[in-house]
């Protein structure tokens, strides 16, 4: 400016030249009513208009018919007169009738508080807008992916501060995005990671071996409510030194762990049940073994009693001998009992009040694995009044598992494979549980001895299942029986003590 400061005339000439020769952006001078007074870049204006066609006309010439109809040519000027440097985007017409997207700036020209006219500059921004539209589409696409993927996504910067927190992350951790953006990501983890996370990032930044980036591992996350959960974390990195972001994708493993735990529990129970089943076999054998020493003891004692009732001439040695033999036999019995106790030791039996539907449910899960695939339809009809039973849960489950498996096997060659499980509260303080199948029934000759050991209608059956069931049910104070309905199949019914019966009486 200093070089041309010599004369004002020279500067105004330059301004005039600048207006006349700069053609890249469209410029207009309007009077206060919007009439065109001058156009820049005569002859090579970007919008091809020439002064001769425009000067004297309204500037609405450059507006689309829609905007003209909406009165925008006047509104724009009124706004520009009110505000300093009014700007907006508009689609402007070229002389050819084609349109381009422009950024228009209108400046009100005032001198001593009087409005003398307007200066309009319009710059073609079609190219920028097109790029912006492409980026918007990309961003929307990315956003839609992030909103949809079940994995939670968290973006952090090089300081470990959260930059973005996806919808899935909000659900998983229980925080709103607005609450955690700007916070250190360590707030989402328990110790020791919580204290060390900043060091992890520093380690990576300083060129250390990546421990998680590109590898992925199972770590522990902490929800807003303070509970911890297992999660699989994989981390990607983008950007350059000093401007890096880390994107973590998180999969919640708690659901999977719960499933695994449930599976382990079921397996443990299955092992327990099969040991109990073996125990039943063992018990039959032991009962027989125990009978031997008891018989011997009884014999010795009776003999001794007889001798003592008429002791004349009998040497005491014989009495001593008999009693010592009896004692020996009781030790033998004691040994057998100890063996039995040792065997049972890990399956301690004690009765508790149990939710009957839960007991049935768990047993059915074990026993009916794969039954549906074998075409068995299971129909359950539980009496809402039959709520609680006083049982050793595992033992009663063994009974149920036995009955249910028998039922499924019995229907293997039936056309109709319906398995009915029902409960019924009885007035005598018992609850009756029944398992009914649509199998071929039980052969008449087996029926009377069905619950005895070593009786089986199954080709490879040991004949112990139902005998164990009877032992268990009777040990619980209940009864077990089979019924053979006229329309086929078999119904097994057993009773258990109703844990609510006493309450009912008190009422």
């Amino acid at each position: 400016m200093d070089e041309i400061a010599g004369g004002n005339a020279e500067l105004s000439d330059l301004v005039r030249l600048a207006f006349a020769q700069s053609a890249k952006h469209v410029q207009l001078i309007l009077d206060p009513h919007g009439k065109i007074l001058a156009l820049n870049g005569e002859g090579h204006r970007a919008d091809q208009w020439a002064s001769a066609e425009c000067v004297g006309s309204s500037h609405e010439l450059f507006y689309s018919s829609e905007e003209r109809a909406a009165g925008l040519p006047d509104i724009d000027l009124a706004t520009a007169a009110r505000e300093d440097g009014y700007e907006r985007e508009m689609w402007r017409l070229r002389r050819s009738g084609t349109e381009y997207l422009s950024r228009m700036t209108i400046t009100a020209l005032r001198h001593e508080n009087t409005l003398h006219g307007f200066h309009v500059i319009a710059r073609d921004i079609t190219h920028e807008a097109a790029i912006r539209a492409v980026n918007d589409t990309r961003e929307q696409h990315l956003q839609s992916i992030l909103d949809t993927v079940p994995d939670a996504m968290i973006v952090i910067d090089e300081l470990g501060l959260i930059v973005s927190f996806s919808a899935a992350a909000q659900r998983l951790f229980g925080y709103e995005e607005s609450e955690v953006v700007g916070c250190n990501v360590s707030c989402l983890m328990p110790a020791p990671d919580k204290e060390r996370h900043d060091d992890y990032i520093r380690h990576y930044r300083e060129g250390g071996e990546p421990r998680i980036i590109g590898i992925g591992r199972t770590v522990t996350g902490r929800r807003r409510d303070g509970t911890d959960f297992p999660m699989h974390l994989s981390v990607g990195v983008a950007g350059h030194d000093g401007d890096r972001v880390f994107t973590g994708f998180i999969r919640d493993l708690s659901e999977k762990e719960r499933d695994d735990l449930k599976m382990r529990e079921l397996q443990a129970e299955l092992i327990h049940v099969s040991r109990l089943s073996a125990m039943g076999t063992m018990a039959s054998t032991l009962a027989h073994e125990l009978n031997q020493p008891l018989t011997a003891v009884a014999n010795y004692l009776e003999e001794t009693r007889d001798i003592l009732s008429d002791p004349q001439g009998t040497p005491m040695a014989i009495v001593q001998e008999a009693l010592s033999e009896a004692a020996k036999e009781t030790f033998r019995a004691g040994f057998i009992v100890r063996r039995l106790r040792e065997f049972v030791a890990r399956g301690e039996v004690d009765k508790n009040v149990e939710d009957l539907s839960q007991v049935i449910d768990d047993a059915a899960q074990l026993a009916l694995a794969g039954a549906k695939e074998r075409g068995v339809r299971t129909l359950v009809n539980l009496d809402p009044l039959a709520k609680h039973v006083l049982v050793d849960k595992v033992q009663i489950q063994q009974v149920l598992v036995n009955l249910l498996r028998n039922a499924v096997e019995a229907m293997a060659s039936s056309t109709v494979r319906d398995l009915h499980i029902a409960t019924c509260k009885r007035p005598d303080g018992f609850i009756e549980i029944s398992v009914r199948d649509t199998g071929p029934g039980v052969a008449a000759e087996i029926r009377p001895r069905l619950f005895e050991a070593f009786v089986s209608s199954k080709i490879d059956g040991m004949g112990l299942g139902l005998s164990i069931c009877r032992t268990i049910v009777e040990a619980h104070g209940g009864r077990i029986a089979a019924e053979y309905p006229d329309d086929g199949g078999t119904i097994f019914k057993f009773t258990l003590i109703d844990a609510n019966a006493e309450e009912d009486d008190e009422r």
Binding site: S64, S65, E66, W91, L93, S96, G97, T98, E99, L101, T126, H127, A129, A130, I131, A133, V134, T137, R138, H141
Partner: protein, 149 residues
């Protein structure tokens, strides 16, 4: 996401759009610009017809139902002036009858609204490949030999 031709330095194919619906016209212009075409859009069919530059177009995209001139008459007029580029008709009321008439008139494609974005880009790409390969008897599959336009 498809690649943009924005950075391409070779000559951009010139594509003209005319549709009286501003939203469709303008979004198409931005889309085509972003995809690397030299896109110009006319608010009216008569403006396109009156513009000498329109003769340099490689392709035109025309709305069938416009207040001043319908799409078929527009192409007939352009063909009468010797224009040989490829033409795409877009319409909200697509049917077999219109498609037949449009093809007879020299339209290479008839695309029914509202899902015009993908089909237009696909068609343009075909025309351009065809033009580059030079294996096309009529530029961009334009006027059919038995065409009476």
């Amino acid at each position: 996401m498809s690649t943009s031709l924005l950075s391409s330095s070779e000559k951009r194919p010139k594509v003209l759009v005319t549709d009286d619906d501003a939203a469709i016209r303008r979004s198409l212009q931005l889309l085509l610009h972003a995809k690397g075409y030299d896109a110009q859009s006319y608010t009216t069919a008569s403006a396109l017809l009156a513009d000498d530059d329109a003769r340099l177009a490689d392709c035109i995209i025309v709305d069938y139902n416009m207040p001043d001139i319908n799409g078929l008459s527009l192409l007939r007029a352009l063909r009468a002036n010797g224009w040989k580029g490829a033409a795409i008709l877009i319409t909200a009321y697509g049917n077999d009858e219109l498609t037949k008439r449009a093809k007879a008139c020299g339209y290479a494609e008839v695309i029914t609204k509202p899902f015009i974005r993908r089909p237009i880009l696909d068609a343009l790409q075909r025309f351009c490949e065809c033009r580059q390969a030079g294996d096309c008897a009529h530029q961009g599959g334009g006027c059919a030999p038995d065409c009476d336009c």
